[in-house]
């Protein structure tokens, strides 16, 4: 998908006045937070697990090339193939080519954020394949022709009614005409439509939460079980993933899984955890004949070497989105690309360019809650700050804000200048605001006063009142 992150400001403002979106956000808001908290309260060893998880990730990232090679060897051993894509275009080409080799018409897809990152659906459709999302949330947004608004709950911005309306429009052609009122009715109808697709699919594409090096397995967690059908029914199974998802051993994987489910949905363990290990063997009852893993780099090996490397520890749990007050206020679409919230505000400038996404790193109060809840303790505020430093350094911010900052800093670093200036400013403002105690409008502060009064300062600053008081004290002592 083409980035719209440059229009973040407008998109955020629009999101705030979008009534149905606000309602959906309100419904979602506390659910995730409360569930995560409950799960964490029941996990006294959380900090220990977190430390262990950080160790695992840091170790793996510092030997990433070795573990990736090991993973590839193991995949080959089990009869599969690994394809390396350094760009999203390459990933698209590889997958389109594999679908052609499979003589595919219909391609089913399990949820994959890397698939979104590489815009696989667009590429498949352009090449003439029918690509169907099978995760309910992904299916809904595919019908709506929208990107996901959350990394684990892609259709969280949609109300029940909106979904029912979408189904009504799109399922007519399958002779579904009943009025859908409850969630089970919606789920059932989706199931029936998708069942047909599962059976007819020639290729199934899934993502991967982790890649286990020692076994050459790819692993997904879902709550719907759709991923299993996507992977096992078609003749060809393609896994699309990114290089930082590799983990050395099964034991390491279990540590990360325990943190992932709790951080994401507050579940102890996600309903389905499925390992895929190469194509069907003779002893297997089902499974694909061909097994491919496409590993996307898309700038990640650069990140490994630079100041953004900590972001590669991300296990895509979504906790930072759920606890972000900015995300909760505007939802995911305003961010303009695939990854929203704090992790998205770090990743989008890296993957789409700083200039394109320069408003995202500033869409944070640095409240720090994201870092606090992140199961890998990724210092998201620090990473956002690094982006801000580059934006300022490369002069990508507006000349107005640069000038304001420069003037302020010039004065603030010169106390002899700051004192008289601030004193007269405060005296004037304090005098003007004395009667009401606040300003409802000020010429230089309209961004503040558009929604808030500005409390009036006292007519005399603390420093000046203090100096006066001390002088008085001294002279009375001398008398």
């Amino acid at each position: 998908m083409k980035s719209k992150s440059h229009a973040f400001k407008q998109q955020a403002a629009d999101a705030l006045v979008n009534v149905s979106l606000q309602k959906a956000l309100l419904n979602a808001k506390d659910g995730f937070i409360v569930k995560r908290k409950k799960a964490m309260d029941e996990l006294p060893e959380f900090e220990r697990l977190r430390t262990k998880a950080i160790e695992i990730k840091e170790h793996t990232l510092s030997h990433l090339d070795q573990y990736l090679e090991y993973f590839e060897q193991q995949v080959i051993k089990s009869g599969g193939t690994v394809h390396w894509a350094s760009t999203t275009t390459q990933a698209q080409q590889i997958i389109v080519e594999l679908c052609k080799q499979a003589n595919a018409r219909t391609v089913t897809k399990g949820k994959s954020m890397v698939g979104e990152e590489a815009a696989i659906n667009d590429a498949l459709e352009a090449a003439g394949f029918e690509a169907i999302e099978t995760d309910l949330g992904e299916y809904i947004i595919q019908l709506a022709n929208e990107p996901p608004s959350h990394i684990i709950a892609p259709a969280i911005h949609k109300s029940k009614q909106e979904i029912a309306d979408l189904f009504k429009d799109h399922h007519k052609k399958y002779n579904f005409n009943s009025k859908l009122e409850t969630i089970p009715e919606i789920v059932n109808e989706a199931r029936e439509v998708l069942r047909e697709k599962f059976i007819n699919a020639d290729v199934g594409i899934t993502g991967a939460n982790f890649l286990v090096a020692e076994t050459g397995s790819t692993l997904i967690v879902t709550n719907e079980g759709n991923g299993d059908l996507t992977a096992t029914l078609p003749k060809t199974h393609i896994v699309i993933s990114s290089i930082e998802k590799v983990v050395p051993t099964l034991e390491d994987t279990s540590v990360l899984l325990r943190l992932l489910a709790r951080s994401a949905t507050g579940q102890e363990i996600t309903s389905y955890t499925t390992f895929f290990n190469g194509p069907k063997r003779n002893s297997d009852i089902d499974g694909p004949e061909n097994f491919h893993v496409v590993l996307l780099d898309n700038g990640r090996s650069n990140m490994l070497q630079n100041e953004n490397h900590e972001m590669l520890k991300c296990i895509h749990c979504g906790a930072c989105l759920n606890h972000c007050p900015v995300y909760s206020a505007i939802g995911g679409h305003a961010y303009g690309w695939v990854y929203p919230g704090p992790m998205g505000s770090v990743l989008t400038p890296i993957m789409q360019g700083l200039d394109e996404a320069k408003d995202l790193p500033f869409a944070s109060t640095f409240c720090g809650r994201c870092e606090e809840v992140c199961p890998l303790s990724i210092p998201l505020p620090k990473l956002l700050r690094q982006h801000r430093n580059h934006i300022h350094h490369d002069k990508l911010n507006t000349s107005r804000s640069r000038l304001g900052l420069a003037l302020w800093a010039f004065v603030a670093s010169r106390p002899a200048l700051y004192r008289p200036l601030s004193n007269s400013f405060i005296r004037a403002l304090g005098w003007l605001g004395k009667k009401s105690g606040r300003f409802s409008w000020l010429p230089f502060a309209s961004a503040w006063t558009q929604s808030k009064d500005l409390p009036a300062p006292a007519a005399q600053s603390f420093m000046s009142a203090w100096t006066q008081q001390q002088a008085k004290k001294k002279s009375s002592e001398n008398e």
Binding site: K9, A12, A13, L16, P325, V326, A329, I330, F362, A363, S364, T365, F366, C367, G368, R369, E371, E372, R385, R388, N389, H390, I391, H392, H393, N397, S401, L405, W408, A409, V411, A412, S413, P415, Y418, R419, S422, F425, I426, K434, S436, G437, R438, S440, A447, W448, S451, K452, D453, L454, P455, A456, P457, A458, Q460, S461, F462, M463, A465, W466
Partner: protein, 258 residues
């Protein structure tokens, strides 16, 4: 003990009473308070906008001005966080200044930590009576980590009835220049905060950071809510006799403060 007060620019300009209340709390506990004259701001506006050079200049000036003091007290968690955690980070590639910054930061305290951990005060001359609620600023939760200490101090006076917010971990939407860069998002966040404040039934909201206080008071007053807003130093020092933040000056009617 001799201590230095770094008033912070917002207390200096918007709420001198909170500065005097800080002095009063420190003097009551036996401190001699100096206010070094060459202080302006801790540099957060530059630092948070990616302007490290200017942030460094301001940090150097603060460090130089305060370097002789054993205890540097700041009535703000966000400025204290800046001085304690971020000053050293600013100088990571300058050994000489890195050392100066880490030495300096070891002597910095936000007011609550200092009252609680160093002065160990157990009684405060609270004159304020009534139902208050407390807004934990994000830096007080995650940088200076004074959530419980604040509660202990407030509990020193049983006249205060503290009614906790339903969602005490949520940011109020100030965020320094964030609130003027994204006024609509900030408004939505402070609206949530105000709904939470109102739900407690408290008549006063108290916090330890002037930025949050201006933000919350500004929105409360725009909405014509009667809830009063005070800095925690004012409440602890019993200096709530003046108009609350954002309220009209009606001191003539009430008791003058000390």
């Amino acid at each position: 003990m001799r201590v230095a007060l770094f008033a912070s620019c917002l207390v200096d300009l918007f709420r001198p009473n909170a500065g005097f209340a800080t002095v009063s709390l420190l003097e009551n506990a036996g401190c001699i308070v100096d206010v070094p004259p060459e202080q302006t701001c801790c540099g957060q506006p530059a630092y948070n906008n990616g302007d490290k050079d200017n942030a460094r200049d301001i940090a150097k000036q603060v460090i130089n001005e305060f370097s002789d003091y054993e205890y540097i007290i700041v009535p703000s968690s966000s400025c204290a966080g800046m001085m304690i955690k971020h000053y050293p980070q600013l100088f990571e590639d300058n050994a000489e200044w890195y050392k100066k910054a880490t030495d300096f930061s070891a002597h910095c305290y936000d007011l609550v930590t200092f009252l609680h951990d160093i002065l160990k005060i157990t009684s405060v001359p609270v004159t304020y009576q009534g139902n208050i609620t407390y807004h934990d600023s994000c830096s007080s939760l995650r940088e200076t980590r004074v959530k419980d200490k604040t509660r202990h101090l407030l509990a020193c006076n049983e006249k205060i009835n503290l009614l906790e917010l339903g969602n005490p971990e949520a940011c109020c939407g100030f965020g320094g220049t964030f609130c003027v860069k994204y006024p609509e998002i900030s408004e939505s966040m402070v609206n949530d905060k105000i709904a939470d404040i109102e739900a407690t039934g408290a008549d006063t909201v108290v916090s330890g950071d002037m930025g949050c206080l201006l933000n919350i008071a500004g929105r409360l007053k725009r909405l014509n809510k009667p809830i009063k807003v005070f800095h925690i130093a004012e409440v602890l020092a019993g200096m709530t006799g003046i108009a609350a933040i954002g309220d009209a000056d009606d001191t003539k009617k009430s008791e003058p403060s000390s």
